[in-house]
């Protein structure tokens, strides 16, 4: 009689542990998915903010039409990107185009003094930061999920219920690793 009780007790404890691990993995996997979508939310915000910026500076920066056009074209290409790898590359090009625009705007003191431009610059650089932090959060939560599914003995449950490994966001194009060069020389 006591043997069966002990056995039932052991099974109950094991089942509770299993349920706990399973639920934790579910929670982490969903947070990881959410983290991935958050990156898209911030990227979309950036797409929406850029036309405002270009319109605000267009009047003062008549002679920088190439730089401004480059930004708008990079934005269109980024919005039309297909798939995460392609989107990653196109968004990187957009970041570089914006960087060039900011660098060139330093040459126009009336722009940097203008409050609207400063506000917009703050909004845009904040959006860049948010994209970066969204990616950072995704990597952090994906790492937490991967650790949770790989440690022993939770990996037994993970294997049984097919919790697949999460891919970390990484730079696929080696060119993106290079610090963007900003040409401040006088040639246009």
């Amino acid at each position: 009689m006591t043997m069966t009780l002990i056995l039932l007790g052991a099974i109950a404890v094991f089942a509770m542990w299993g349920i706990g691990v399973y639920n934790r993995l579910i929670g982490l996997r969903n947070q990881k998915e959410n983290g991935w979508r958050q990156i898209d939310v911030q990227l979309k915000r950036r797409h929406d903010l850029i036309p405002n910026l270009v319109n605000t500076v267009k009047g003062a920066m008549e002679f920088e039409r190439d730089t401004l056009t480059a930004v708008m074209e990079a934005r269109s290409r980024a919005m039309a990107a297909v798939g995460p790898a392609d989107a990653g590359r196109k968004e990187g090009e957009l970041t570089q185009a914006l960087g060039r625009l900011f660098a060139v705007a330093e040459n126009y003191p009336q722009l940097t003094a203008n409050q609207n431009v400063r506000m917009l610059q703050e909004e845009l650089s904040s959006t860049e930061n948010k994209v970066g932090f969204a990616r950072q959060f995704y990597n952090d939560i994906a790492t937490k999920y991967n650790i949770a599914r790989e440690v022993f003995p939770a990996n037994i449950i993970a294997g049984l219920f097919r919790f697949d490994a999460a891919e970390l966001f990484e730079i696929t194009d080696a060119g993106d690793r290079q610090v963007p060069t900003v040409d401040l020389s006088m040639k246009t």
């Binding site: 409050q115 400063r118 506000m119 703050e122 909004e123 904040s126 930061n129 959060f137 952090d140």
Partner: protein, 325 residues
């Protein structure tokens, strides 16, 4: 130690202190129930449960409503209201930066964006409050907005978000409940002792108790009752200091820029005036001690024991160690 190792160490030390704390409460509680309630023979945990219930009830109420009363006591203004009455473009710019910085940290931490408040005090300081990440608030002083650049402000905001994410407000409320329980038990025992010595000492006088062992335990317990309130407060302060280090390390993980927070702390330290707007009860929630107790920068053993925050130099050194890993 790098920042993840520091986080693990701080969490471990918190739980060691909490274990000691619970041990002290248990010792006092068992003693009261054994000697005051039960008379040295029967153990009825009536006093312990009553003390925990009263103290716990107060703490629970404080947790639910505390953030509103703390914010009111500091005369904090919501950021939208402050923006509407902004004095200049520069002012508006700083407030927008604050708003953006908080939102960035909320994204990095995966928590909802907390409510933002501005305190009309010229001394740089900040605190976080709220029972969980979904009901949280962050308040900064005008002085902080003026003194720090964007990266430093982000470091301070990250530290406060870290307090929210680590559920430190909840932990400190539990700690306050335990301190409260100790104080209640000590107070009750003192009253009973004074008014006729309790059933324990009466039966001891009649020679009915279980002998030398019970007497020894009785003496130990009397000593514990005398020192328990002070010990409880010291333990609470130890937990508070440990969580400050943890918030520094977790905040650094959010920004991945520990040197910015180190630089912010250096600037805050240099602005030596206390923050009169923040009262004693909220001191442990702030990034720097608002009561001005560390004005002359004493760093001895006793000074550190009674402080709510660790010495600024040690915090800065810990952050720099993270930064140069």
């Amino acid at each position: 130690m790098n920042l993840l190792e520091q986080q693990a160490a701080n969490r471990r030390r918190t739980w060691i202190v909490m274990a000691i704390f619970v041990g002290v409460v248990a010792l006092v509680g068992v003693g009261v129930d054994l000697f005051v309630v039960g008379g040295g023979q029967t153990y009825v945990p009536a006093a312990s449960l009553a003390a925990l219930a009263v103290s716990g009830g107060q703490a629970w109420y404080g947790l639910r409503n505390g953030d509103r009363s703390v914010l009111r006591s500091t005369q904090a203004i919501p950021i939208d209201q402050r923006l509407a009455s902004a004095a200049s473009d520069e002012d508006r710019h700083r407030l927008r930066q604050l708003d953006n910085v908080v939102e960035e940290m909320a994204i990095a931490g995966g928590v909802p964006k907390p409510a933002i408040w501005v305190i009309p005090d010229s001394d740089p300081n900040a605190f976080a409050t709220g029972r969980d990440p979904a009901h949280a608030s962050i308040a900064v002083t005008e002085g902080l907005l003026r003194a720090l650049n964007r990266d430093e402000l982000q470091g301070v905001v990250a530290h406060e978000m870290a307090h929210i994410r680590n559920y430190d407000i909840r932990l400190m409320t539990v700690v306050a409940a335990l301190v409260g329980a100790i104080l209640l038990l000590a107070d009750w025992s003192a009253r009973v002792m004074r008014h006729g010595g309790g059933r324990g000492s009466r039966s001891r006088a009649r020679g009915k108790d279980g002998g030398a062992l019970v007497a020894v335990v009785f003496v130990v317990w009397i000593v514990a009752i005398i020192f328990a309130p002070a010990l409880g407060r010291l333990l609470a302060l130890a937990v508070s200091r440990r969580r400050e280090y943890l918030a520094d390390a977790t905040g650094a993980e959010l920004t991945r820029n520990p040197l910015a927070l180190a630089s912010a702390l250096e600037r805050i330290e240099r602005a030596v005036e206390p923050t009169p707007a923040i009262k004693r009860g909220s001191a442990h929630l702030c990034i720097a001690d608002p009561l001005g107790l560390r004005l002359d920068d004493r760093e001895g053993f006793w000074a550190n024991l009674w402080a709510t925050h660790p010495p600024m130099r040690r915090r800065i050194a810990a952050l720099k160690a993270m930064g140069y890993q």
